[in-house]
Symmetry: C2
């Protein structure tokens, strides 16, 4: 144990050091800070007092005098950590070793809770904020704040703000190009909730490429829910109407898992008879699928790194404006392949 009753080791404060050294708080601070002019003799007295009290160089105090706290706030709305953790990891990478620490708050999709967290973080003098949305649709701006803000995953509605988002249109294009390269021409699309911009963006990217090759989406895109159950149901509807379907584009890995199950139970071989793609590259779902699922990886760590890099640049006085888009990449696995001749 670190402390025992009656003998709590409360860390010494700068005030304790100043008192022991017989100097003002400002002088004690300058002496430890090391960047401002203090008489050598005074500095020695303060350092000796700090050593005697076991006062370690205090990052907080140092930053306090510089007007920077060396911390950034990360406000997430993503309960399950699906998007915020890779973003956090990317931001940590970008922050570099020990220069910046991340204060994390979970706003749980609640605007009031977000306001509260933002105020609390400002009170802690964060140098900037990254706000990670739970879904990639535009969200209201936090407006004018005393520190820079970067909106990650969910962009701000205000084009004067800085936002970094995934590229859902390009992800949709990648999928369609891959399926065309696999020789597929009877293509259906099953995706999630039509209330999500991402659902439409992915469909738009895919249909643009398919139309360009003269391929129409069988029966038009099917919107439903981001669930396996909808994937199973929709695949059943498609098989009933279009027995010659040779590819099903799924708007998420969850949907794709349901599509795969329905195809297997209908006796269709994947990928020989029907190629299937997902979106998200959520490994717990993609790697456990039968066969393993070809999917779109949105490069969320890269998104986090980029959001942090933009934030640090703004903190240094070089703000950016508008929305930056991080390209996705295709991860080919066993659920797609050339159509047998």
């Amino acid at each position: 144990m670190q402390t025992t009753p009656g003998n709590t080791r409360k860390p010494p404060t700068l005030a304790d050091v100043a008192k022991l050294a017989g100097v003002s708080l400002a002088t004690a601070s300058k002496s430890l800070n090391g960047r401002q002019q203090v008489k050598a003799e005074t500095r020695e007295r303060v350092l000796s007092a700090a050593e005697q009290l076991n006062f370690s160089p205090n990052v907080l105090a140092r930053h306090l005098l510089s007007g920077r706290s060396g911390t950034i706030g990360l406000v997430t709305h993503d309960l399950e950590g699906r998007f915020s953790i890779p973003t956090l990891m990317g931001a940590e990478d970008a922050a570099g070793t020990g220069k910046t620490s991340v204060l994390l708050c979970d706003a749980r999709g609640d605007a009031l809770r977000e306001q509260y967290h933002v105020q609390a973080l400002l009170g802690r003098r964060v140098d900037g904020l990254i706000v990670v949305g739970a879904r990639p649709d535009p969200r209201p701006s936090l407006g004018q704040l005393p520190v820079p803000v970067v909106y990650a995953y969910a962009p701000s509605q205000d084009p004067a703000d800085m936002s970094v988002v995934t590229d859902n249109v390009q992800g949709g294009r990648l999928v369609a190009e891959h399926l065309l390269a696999c020789g597929r021409s009877r293509v259906a699309i099953v995706t999630g909730d039509a209330g999500y911009g991402a659902a439409h963006d992915r469909v738009d990217g895919a249909t643009a490429v398919l139309s360009g090759a003269g391929v129409e989406v069988l029966g038009g895109p099917l919107y439903g829910a981001w669930s396996e159950e909808w994937g199973r149901t929709a695949a059943g509807l498609i098989l009933n109407r279009f027995t010659d379907v040779d590819a099903i584009i799924s708007g998420s890995d969850q949907i794709a898992r349901g599509v795969l199950d329905a195809l297997r139970e209908a006796g269709r071989r994947v990928p020989e008879d029907v190629a299937v793609t997902g979106h998200d590259n959520w490994e717990i779902l993609a790697l456990n699928a039968r066969p393993q699922l070809t999917s779109i990886d949105m490069n969320l760590e890269e998104l986090g790194r980029r959001a942090a890099a933009l934030l640090f640049d703004a903190i240094e006085g070089n703000p950016h404006h508008g929305t930056e888009v991080i390209p996705s990449r295709l991860v080919p696995r066993g659920s797609t392949g050339p159509k047998p001749a």
Copy 2:
């Protein structure tokens, strides 16, 4: 945008306020702090300077003088956020509104990275640390640190430390009791990597209850991997050897998903012919299963709340020792039910 080139709004420092008010840094601090004696006239001058400079009450400065930073560090090893996010949410709840902020670091299963993060957090003067493991096996202690530490999910090997863990033995018992109540007597167990203490603990809890009722585990527990594929393979092995199996206990929800798939493809009805249980209550897997999966919820948010409560108590000078166990609960769904007569 928050800042524009050439007009960066660098937040004013306490030093700026002191300078404008014509007082020492210590006096400015005491005036804003509000807890120490300062002449009314001086305080007024400082407050007016702070207002003029738009200097908001600075939590950092206030905490600096009290020897507390009002922050705790959360070091996680859980890449996918599966266990750390609920723990974080629980810790936030326990921290209460605005009193404590959480500095999050991801050590990514690397002991050196953990050491580095711990030192960085101590340099930031956190009041205490919560260390969240990636797997529930005992881990080396961080040893003597200047602030209290609570080990969450993965306990410390040192019984003098404070640890909070899930109860895997009791979780195993709950599953077995439920299956006995459902009238099952031909029970098999499929679980994950035998290198995990949690795998054995869950098996031990279940077999103790089953033996007590005179039920032997068919063929003994099968250890393998925490994957759907192993669930499918193991269920196939069980069906081959024990055609009259009427319940399969799975060590995780992933394994259970594989078991369910294998049973469906073998033409067995769930739960009529075979009841199936999971462990973790990972909703993305449990709610999408066919039928929905009965599982064990480890109450991770409660674990986080308890870890934070123990930490705050230790920060107040009341340290605890040893390992506290958070009970799990059974979440019954469609994959279990009474055996038809």
